[in-house]
């Protein structure tokens, strides 16, 4: 079993195989597959109502694993796809059922299209759509919510993550590498045997859930087994071909001797590879992996399982993969069965797999709000182990190399730089940053461990944590942390300034907190905003809990639950409080913008009395028409966030602390609590688009600030001032903050400059920074890319917690990125 295949091409760098796989991936269009929906609909039609929900879901998953098309591509070593082929995305009608119009739009739109044939659309209309009418999660939610909630939602005061997708943001710990699914199943059966039906009133529920988990184990094993069969079949076919070749050669039909030998030997290699693939798929995930290849394939099957049973939001994630795979790498290298290059090739194959998984297409507000085409997998490397020691190892460096060579959309990469992480590792990371693809982003374990411990995790579990998708952190393999949606803090100010009315929709969305023209002091204004903010947070929370229950009742994740402690021990689902830790996040957006707005009003209206409130409000209402001088005065003469200016920074700290107080500590339905998060993904663009002009001189419908970054062009004192401003927030109170910094390439020209950037990062982390990321690209390049998109097909740019192709972005998002403050060399 322990043989590895030595391929002649297999030498350093990105080898030919990986080059081909990468190119293939790049050239494959994204398509929509109706296969999963058809299998599921048929299954539901026959079985709905005949069994408990967990068992129904598990058997549904089993059915999909049993019937879906299996794919093994040429050149592949790591196998398995979510759809029938690479970049074919299934739909999940039990959550959201796309309408015929949705499908047509997806098929024909310019940006981020999903190709689907007319035939498939017709089948969908006939077979799938009628069955799900009124039964989808989405309809359940929208039928329940109050008018107030719905109006605020449609006006863009907040978004709702779980209205059309399952919760995601899940990352794995290392348990799958020590335990096969057969072992897991044995554990489940033992738990079932222990159930006490007399004294435990929940025993029946637990039994059903555990039975469902056991079925899920079988499903994944079957899925792998089918890959083994296919690989074997392909090997046999190749062998037949070779025999034919040989006999032709013997008959002298083929005169070109050398081409025959080349072809023959490469076919021979492929046969060996396919046989190995078959062996691997027979062994994992049923048993614990024994070598690097099996370990990687193990992860990939687990990954596919979770994204097949439900379409969790971004970021099913292997967690600290460099730590998890280390024992396999070390052993393989020691006993001579694995070389560094082979390890790199296998990992590269996995990398390509990540990039083969576009996100299931979204609809409605979520499609506007989330401009992401791929689901995020944010690979965590470096950081610390459970004992707190620096964990960067040779694999971490290999992964950096792969990331630089492949520079695909996914996976994303983050390097985790604790105080005890060697500088060498940080510098290697910065070298990749210098390439300008927007990754890796950089995280500070010393801060996020504090965040996680503050939320109630044990120190060891916190150390094992990290970031799953953008910047949000959790205890890997032990936590169900649901991100539930973004809160538009500047929009809430807009509503406050209009006494509860949203000027964009004309509807009364908020409370009547008084006409701001009557406010005598800045404190009155702030209090009014605060009241509105608490009102909207409560409005959102009231529905969050309902949605959580809907998932628990209708869409439990019985496969994912196998891998999240302590679902099996508790006999409870991931969505029902089975996890050891259960957090619900609301992500607040626009801290920079709202701080600047408050600073403007405080200084110019209440203190200097340069303008009256009425003048400012009228100017905003007219989108600064006729008020350009006022707008520019405000832009140029107001203390803004991100300049290490106490005037603005104190406002930011106050807003942030009040958001924490409003959100933190409310009970969710899973025995856990709500917490604040500060990521924005692309939502700051959507939120800006629904928000009129704001007092800080921002034009109507332009993006608001992202994450915790300063608002566009407001930070004029360089990156050190930015990190000092950010350092004033107690970041341990959130589940993540996000800081985007744009540098021109000139700032990283010399090796010495990279060291200096390293110091900047270290200093920010000393101030308690959670995360920082850099876009190394100059404005001229971006403008040119807008003009000549085809010359910049692979221009990757950091957006928020992820990078994306510049060409795939809406013009609005492109402009937003161009408007970010560019730090030049001085």
């Amino acid at each position: 079993m322990n043989f590895t295949i030595k391929h002649p091409e297999n030498e350093g760098g990105m080898n030919e195989r990986i080059r081909r796989l990468r190119q293939q991936n790049f050239d494959t269009p994204t398509t929509l597959s109706i296969e999963r929906a058809l299998i599921e609909t048929e299954f539901y039609k026959q079985n709905y109502g005949t069994m408990s929900t967990p068992v129904l879901r598990a058997k549904n998953f089993y059915e999909i694993c049993k019937r879906k098309s299996i794919y093994i591509g040429e050149d592949e070593l790591i196998v398995g796809e979510r759809g029938p082929k690479p970049k074919a995305v299934p739909t999940f009608p039990e959550l959201t059922c796309h309408s015929v119009e949705d499908l047509h739009t997806l098929n024909s739109r310019q940006l981020q299209p999903y190709t689907i044939s007319q035939e498939d659309i017709d089948t969908y209309e006939r077979e799938v759509i009628p069955y799900w009418k009124g039964k989808t999660q989405r309809e359940r939610i929208f039928n329940h919510v109050s008018k107030e909630w719905e109006e605020a939602y449609h006006a863009g005061v907040f978004t709702e993550f779980m209205e059309q997708r399952a919760a995601g943001h899940t990352a794995m710990d290392g348990k799958m590498y020590g335990e096969g699914l057969l072992d897991v199943k044995a554990r489940i059966e033992k738990r079932i045997a222990e159930l006490d039906y007399i004294n435990d009133p929940e025993a029946t529920d637990k039994q059903q859930e555990l039975e469902a988990m056991a079925i899920s184990c079988d499903a994944a094993i079957l899925f792998a087994e089918r890959h083994a069969e296919l690989a074997e079949k392909m090997a046999e076919e190749l062998e037949r071909e070779m025999t034919n070749d040989e006999s032709r050669f013997a008959r002298n039909d083929e005169c070109d001797n050398s081409s025959f030998v080349t072809r023959h030997s490469s076919l021979e290699y492929r046969v060996l590879e396919l046989r190995k693939i078959a062996d691997v798929c027979r062994w994992v995930p049923a048993h614990a992996p024994r070598d690097m290849w099996e370990a990687i394939q193990m992860y990939w099957f687990v990954h596919l399982g979770t994204v097949t049973e439900l379409n969790g939001w971004d970021s099913m994630n292997p967690g600290h993969i460099d730590q998890h795979l280390w024992p396999f790498y070390e052993k393989g290298v020691k006993d001579g069965t694995l070389t560094r290059d082979q390890a790199k090739e296998l990992l590269s194959c996995l990398w390509i797999k990540f990039n083969n998984q576009p996100a299931p297409p979204k609809v409605g507000v979520t499609a506007l709000e989330s401009g992401t085409y791929n689901d995020f997998t944010n690979i965590n490397i470096g950081g610390v182990d459970r004992e707190g020691n620096s964990a960067a190892n040779e694999l971490s460096y290999i992964i950096l190399e792969i990331q630089e060579e492949l520079h695909e959309l996914q996976p994303g990469l983050s390097i985790h730089i604790a105080e005890n992480t060697p500088d060498e590792f940080l510098l290697e990371g910065i070298k990749v940053i210098r390439q300008g693809h927007g990754y890796p982003s950089i995280f500070n374990p010393d801060t996020y461990i504090k965040e996680l411990v503050r939320e109630g995790k044990s120190l060891e579990d916190a150390r094992e944590g990290g970031c799953s998708g953008c910047i949000e952190v959790g205890a890997f393999g032990k936590e169900a942390y649901l991100l539930t949606g973004y809160l538009n803090t500047p929009k809430i100010l807009e509503i406050t300034l209009n006494n509860g009315i949203d000027p964009e929709t004309g509807k009364k969305l908020g409370l009547e907190t008084g006409d701001p023209r009557e406010f005598k002091s800045y404190e009155e204004l702030y209090d009014a905003w605060h009241k509105q903010m608490v009102y909207f947070v409560n409005l959102k929370l009231s529905v969050n809990n309902y949605i959580e229950r809907m998932f628990s009742l209708y869409a439990p994740a019985t496969f994912l639950s196998l891998y999240i402690d302590d679902c099996i021990e508790k006999g409870k689902d991931y969505y029902s409080g089975g996890a050891r830790y259960n957090t619900t996040y609301i992500q607040c957006t626009g801290l920079g913008t709202i701080t600047d707005c408050f600073s403007t009003l405080k200084k110019h209206v209440f203190e200097d009395k340069r303008y009256t409130m009425d003048e400012v409000l009228q100017a905003c209402a007219k989108n600064w028409g006729g008020g350009e001088a006022m707008r520019l005065y405000i832009r140029n003469h107001t203390p803004f966030f991100g300049n290490d200016d106490p005037y603005a920074d104190e406002i930011a700290v106050r807003v942030y602390d009040d958001l924490v107080k409003a959100i933190e500590g409310r009970p969710n339905t899973r025995g856990g609590k709500t917490q604040l998060n500060m990521l924005s993904t692309t939502c700051h663009n959507y939120f800006g688009s629904v928000c009129g002009a704001t007092p800080n001189g921002r034009y109507a419908h332009f993006a608001i600030s992202d994450g915790t970054s300063p608002s566009h062009g407001s930070d004029t004192h360089g990156p050190t001032a930015v990190i000092k401003s950010l350092g004033k927030l107690d970041q341990t109170k959130s589940g993540g903050t996000l800081l985007n910094v744009r540098f021109t390439p000139a700032l990283l020209r010399r090796d010495e400059d990279m060291k200096k950037l390293g110091y900047l990062i270290r200093t920010y982390f000393k101030f308690g920074g959670h995360h920082i990321q850099f876009n190394i690209v100059d404005t001229a390049t971006l403008l040119d890319a807008q003009k000549h998109p085809d010359q910049y097909r692979d221009l990757l740019v950091r957006v928020a917690g992820y990078s994306d192709y510049f060409n795939d972005m809406t013009e609005q998002l492109q402009n937003e990125i161009i408007a970010r403050t560019e730090n030049e060399a001085v």
């Binding site: 001088a629 006022m630 707008r631 005065y633 140029n636 050190t720 001032a721 200093t763 060399a825 001085v826």
Partner: protein
């Protein structure tokens, strides 16, 4: 003992740049002092020439809103008088001597020539006098008279919404300057960086009040300096000044008459810099 207690005149700073990574080792804070004895044609920051705050007018930023109340005609004059960075934009990239002679810059130079000429005559006059500072200062004030007609409107320039009219340069007391430096202390120390004094010609700006320095000389360079947490800065700082002076000297070879002036001043400044630093600890 506080060496500057007797009232040291402030230093005129025209810019403070944080995260300066090209001005010496580590991450630095660069303080640009205003004032320079030279009037090089290729100067990148001519607004740093005068050793006192002055109003700059950047025409391309002006939206003609008239908030400042300055007559358009006068704004026009201001454009000619003061400096527009963009016109010099690329000058700093050139190899100085060759470009000067190869004339590839002629259009920009010509466009600017009236200004440059006016200034050069000033420089010429100035240099013949600069053995004695007092006479220089006299000269200087006459130059400023030309500016003064605009100074009258200082009261309204602050209202300019676009910063088309902007005060270039601000007087900082040593305490204020140290407070600015203090903001960056963490990152400077972590990165082995420090403070870089630049200009203008820092030696020029820093010495324009001789009496102040005379008094400072009397204070012994205190032993504070050595026990001081800022001492690493001192070394770096003075070495930088030294390096910087050699740079100035290179310049001076083009303006030969200036060289003696500059060299003499550099020794002054090194003493001064120790002071700034020792002060921080007291």
């Amino acid at each position: 003992m506080k060496p500057f207690e007797n009232g040291c005149s402030p230093l005129t700073v025209f810019d403070i740049k944080r995260y300066a990574i090209n001005d010496g080792p580590g991450i630095r804070t660069t303080i640009f002092l205003k004032g320079c004895p030279l009037r090089c044609v290729w100067c990148h920051n001519p607004e740093s020439w005068l050793p006192k705050p002055e109003i700059l007018f950047k025409q391309q930023k002006c939206i003609g809103c008239n908030t400042c109340g300055i007559h358009p005609h006068q704004r026009e004059m201001l454009t000619r008088m003061t400096n527009d960075e963009s016109r010099f934009a690329r000058n700093d990239e050139c190899e100085l001597p060759s470009n000067l002679e190869s004339d590839s810059y002629s259009s920009s130079v010509t466009r600017h020539s009236s200004f440059v000429t006016r200034h050069s005559s000033f420089v010429t006059r100035h240099s013949s006098f600069d053995i004695r500072h007092s006479s220089f200062d006299i000269r200087h004030s006459s130059f400023d008279i030309r500016h003064s007609s605009f100074d009258i409107r200082h009261s309204s320039f602050k209202d300019c919404p676009t910063l088309a009219l902007e005060m270039c340069g601000r007087d900082y007391t040593v305490e204020e300057l140290l407070a600015e430096i203090e903001k960056e202390r963490d990152i400077m120390i972590d990165s082995g960086g420090g403070v870089t004094i630049s200009g203008g010609e820092p030696l020029f700006g820093m010495t324009h009040d001789q009496s102040r320095f005379a008094r400072n000389d009397e204070c012994a360079l205190s032993s504070d300096m050595e026990s001081d947490s800022y001492s690493s800065l001192v070394t770096r700082h003075s070495s930088f000044v030294t390096r910087h002076s050699s740079f100035v000297i290179r310049h001076s070879s083009f303006v030969i008459r200036h060289s003696s002036f500059v060299i003499r001043h550099s020794s002054f400044v090194i003493r001064h810099s120790s002071f700034v630093i020792s002060y921080s600890s007291s």
